[in-house]
């Protein structure tokens, strides 16, 4: 019997080296994971009082840009972010996250960078906040189509008291498919009414008593074939009335609400007639109870209607040109204008004085500053004896003995205005024009203009009250490109450019999918 063959040390060493070389070659043939293969699609920038926040769903990060010496700060958030909005009056940003199996709501405290996560009873698409930021109503959007769900009950909403983490599910149970809007009523001692407008009516519930079933009010009587749909709702200042404008109806729908607390609120529906071609409604100035403002395009009228239908209490203004929108200024004054037209009118809804002005060009929708009795109308082009081209008209309403005067002041622009924002105290108006890197500050009282040129064109503007910063959002790749500049300055030396900050933390992705 022959002895078993033995391997020499040299041959063993050679085999070990060959194995090492093969192992190295094998390791070098790794594959790429999915962390960097999907497109970054950041959500729209959200401005708080002192920072702008960009949510990047693909990296599961919210990037906080605070003007100052440091780099943008990344904060880790839950997966599946699809909507972000500032909670009014706070420095928090609410972010809808999660999946169909586990929807969630992340609340980012911008100052501390802390994130708290709450469970949500549905994969909602959007949030409507009360003006004071105490409550948020989470709704589905028919166009949302979130996730992979094939069926959604759009009549569900979530009520979130922002001081806590609980989101309460409410079933509206209406005949309509989906909410069209959410309107918070005035703050009352024991209740806060919320109206959810829907195609066929409105649902009203008390945010302080979410356990009480909503009151459902249909504007289509049983068996009716009328196809009208609610397009706007307005609460009266005492929450006694809820006014609706619906398509195809010239009457304002006035819903008288009961004072019930802790029970389903009672509702009595009336139809109040005025002119023809109802195009907008608004709550009247303070002190005018049981009434609603309405403007009619077809009959060229504005009305202060009595909600109870008492014709003797109604007031009417005959306009020379059709108006389609209205806004309440200070005192009892109301501004009326027609979108796409050139005419503007003002009306004192109590004493009946009025005035009008014809602007040099057509406009879309103005920026109204009620505190200053002023409105700003951007024109893509004007044609006057003085010249042609884009312009910005300011209209200031002032009182004269027998009428209201509309003082018209025009500012020439090199290109049409593209973006604008008011400062927090509505004393300054910031805007940019097309194809120009300049940002203009206009003092609303004196109309003094201050211009600073940035490095690239801005497509959006945000004003940060904390530190008085103006943040210009640049067009381009869409990965976060902003310049922060001290508001109202011509000096570029204080400006800071933040480039592509959506990539922040992209290399540090622990816990993310491979």
């Amino acid at each position: 019997m022959s002895p078993a063959p033995t391997t020499s040390p040299r041959r063993a060493l050679f085999r070990a080296l060959l194995f090492a070389a093969l192992a190295a070659a094998g390791v070098a043939c790794g594959t790429r994971g999915t962390l960097y293969t999907s497109a970054l699609k950041p959500l729209a920038l959200v401005a708080t009082s002192g920072a702008v926040v960009q949510v990047v769903p693909q990296t599961r990060r919210a990037v906080i840009v605070t003007p100052g010496p440091g780099a943008p700060r990344p904060v880790r958030i839950s997966a599946g972010a699809r909507y972000a909005k500032r909670v009014p009056g706070t420095d928090a940003v609410a972010i809808l996250t999660g999946s169909a199996k586990a929807p969630a709501l992340d609340v980012l405290d911008v100052a501390s960078g802390e994130v708290t996560t709450a469970e949500v009873p549905g994969l909602f698409d959007a949030i409507h906040f009360s003006p004071d930021g105490r409550f948020g109503v989470l709704v589905y959007l028919p166009s949302g189509g979130s996730g992979t769900l094939v069926a959604r009950n759009l009549n569900e909403v979530g009520l979130w008291a922002t001081a806590g983490r609980e989101v309460t599910r409410l079933q509206l149970d209406t005949e309509s498919l989906a909410p069209r809007g959410v309107l918070f009523g005035p703050v009352e001692p024991n209740r806060l009414l919320v109206a959810v407008t829907l195609e066929r009516g409105v649902a009203v519930f008390d945010a302080l008593h979410p356990e009480v079933a909503p009151r459902r009010i249909s504007i289509r009587p049983q068996g009716s074939t009328v196809e009208s749909a609610v397009v706007k709702a307005v609460f009266s200042q005492d929450a006694h009335w809820l006014f609706l404008r619906a398509t195809g109806l010239d009457d304002v729908i006035a819903i008288e609400l009961g004072p019930e607390v802790g029970r389903s609120v009672s509702a009595s529906i009336n139809f109040v007639a005025g002119g023809r071609g109802l195009s907008d409604i608004a709550a009247p100035p303070a002190g005018l109870a049981d009434s609603v403002l309405a403007v009619y395009a077809a009959s060229k009228e504005a009305w202060l209607l009595d909600a109870r239908g008492i014709q003797d209490n109604a007031k009417r203004l005959q306009l020379t040109d059709a108006a389609t929108r209205l806004a309440v200024l200070s005192g009892n004054r109301v501004l009326l204008w027609g979108e796409g037209s050139r005419s503007v009118a003002a009306w004192d809804a109590v004493d009946g004085r009025s005035g009008s002005a014809l602007l040099d060009g057509a406009f879309a929708s103005p920026v109204v500053v009620p505190a200053l009795d002023k409105a700003l109308f951007a024109h893509a082009a004007v044609s006057s004896a003085a010249g042609t081209g884009p312009a910005l008209s300011t209209v200031t309403v002032s009182e004269e003995t027998n009428r209201l005067r509309l003082k018209l002041q025009s500012i020439q622009l090199s290109k049409p205005m593209t973006a604008s924002v008011l400062d927090g105290e509505t004393q300054r108006f910031f805007f940019t024009v097309a194809q120009s890197p300049a940002v203009v500050t206009m003092d609303l009282r004196t109309l003094q203009l201050v211009e600073v040129s940035l490095d690239s064109v801005a497509q959006g503007l945000h004003h940060l009250t904390q530190g008085d910063w103006l943040v210009a959002e640049h067009a381009g790749f869409g990965y976060g490109d902003v310049t922060a500049v001290p508001a109202g300055t011509t000096d570029r030396s204080g400006a800071m450019h933040y480039a592509d900050f959506a990539f922040t933390d992209d290399l540090d992705r622990p816990g993310d999918p491979p």
């Binding site: 040299r10 060493l13 050679f14 080296l17 090492a20 070389a21 192992a23 190295a24 070659a25 390791v27 070098a28 043939c29 790794g30 594959t31 790429r32 994971g33 962390l35 960097y36 293969t37 999907s38 497109a39 970054l40 693909q58 010496p69 440091g70 780099a71 943008p72 990344p74 940035l454 490095d455 790749f477 310049t483 000096d491 570029r492 030396s493 400006a495 800071m496 450019h497 933040y498 480039a499 592509d500 900050f501 990539f503 922040t504 933390d505 992209d506 290399l507 540090d508 992705r509 491979p514």
Partner: protein, 220 residues
């Protein structure tokens, strides 16, 4: 005759005459590093950084075995499409000084153990240098085992040039490279009142990994 040229000619003609002249070598080849971190997927799809390497060394005979002391320069880069929108590229270059203990177990098989220290520069570019760019540098340590296969070019000579095939495998240790100040490349002509650019912090890229190399060396 130019005195400098005369001196150079004298040195060259004197070289073969010195039998005790230390053995010198020149190396060129391929040196790849393999990174298993997921972050490496930012710039590559198969985890490795291919590099070219050139070096020069000297060999000392020891009581048992040989010691090759080498200085080398290596450089390489890799790039990959980032978030479907554009390329992200990492370029690395550095100097490496090291020593190999070589054991000629066979005439045509010399296993060795190599240890080295170096200094590297890495530049990460996202979507071109007009978008985001940063260069960082740091030290590196490397260890490797391998084998050299020598081929004597003219066996009849007492001292002949030797062509070596060098195959090594090991690892490289580096601190993570912090790309925390990514910013666009400053313009060549600076404006009079430039707007300050605030950096973007991409995070840290781990730079320790495996290494292997395939070199061709001429030793004389």
């Amino acid at each position: 005759m130019n005195p400098r040229l005369a001196l150079l000619a004298a040195l060259v003609t004197a070289l073969p005459a010195r039998a005790d002249w230390p053995t010198l070598s020149a190396t060129v080849g391929y040196a790849s590093q393999v990174y298993l971190s997921r972050s490496w997927d930012l710039v590559d799809d198969n985890d490795h950084l291919p590099m070219g390497r050139i070096g020069a060394g000297v060999t000392f005979e020891m009581a048992a075995g040989l010691v090759d002391v080498e200085a080398a320069y290596q450089a390489g880069n890799t790039s990959q499409t980032l978030h479907t929108a554009g390329p992200a590229q990492l370029a690395l270059q550095g100097f490496d000084v090291g020593a190999s203990y070589r054991w000629p177990v066979l005439r045509y098989l010399h296993p060795y153990l190599h240890l080295g220290l170096g200094w590297d520069w890495a530049t990460l570019t996202v979507y071109g240098d007009a978008r985001l760019l940063q260069s960082v540098s740091n030290f590196a340590g490397s260890g490797m085992v391998g084998v050299q296969v020598p081929l004597v070019l003219n066996p009849k000579l007492k001292r002949s040039a030797v062509l070596l095939l060098d195959l090594g495998f090991g690892g490289v240790l580096r601190p993570g490279y912090a790309f925390d100040a990514m910013a666009p490349k400053p313009p060549d002509k600076k404006p009079e009142d430039p707007i300050a650019v605030r950096p973007t912090d991409l995070g840290t890229l781990p730079m320790s990994g495996l290494a292997y190399r395939l070199l061709v060396t001429v030793r004389y």
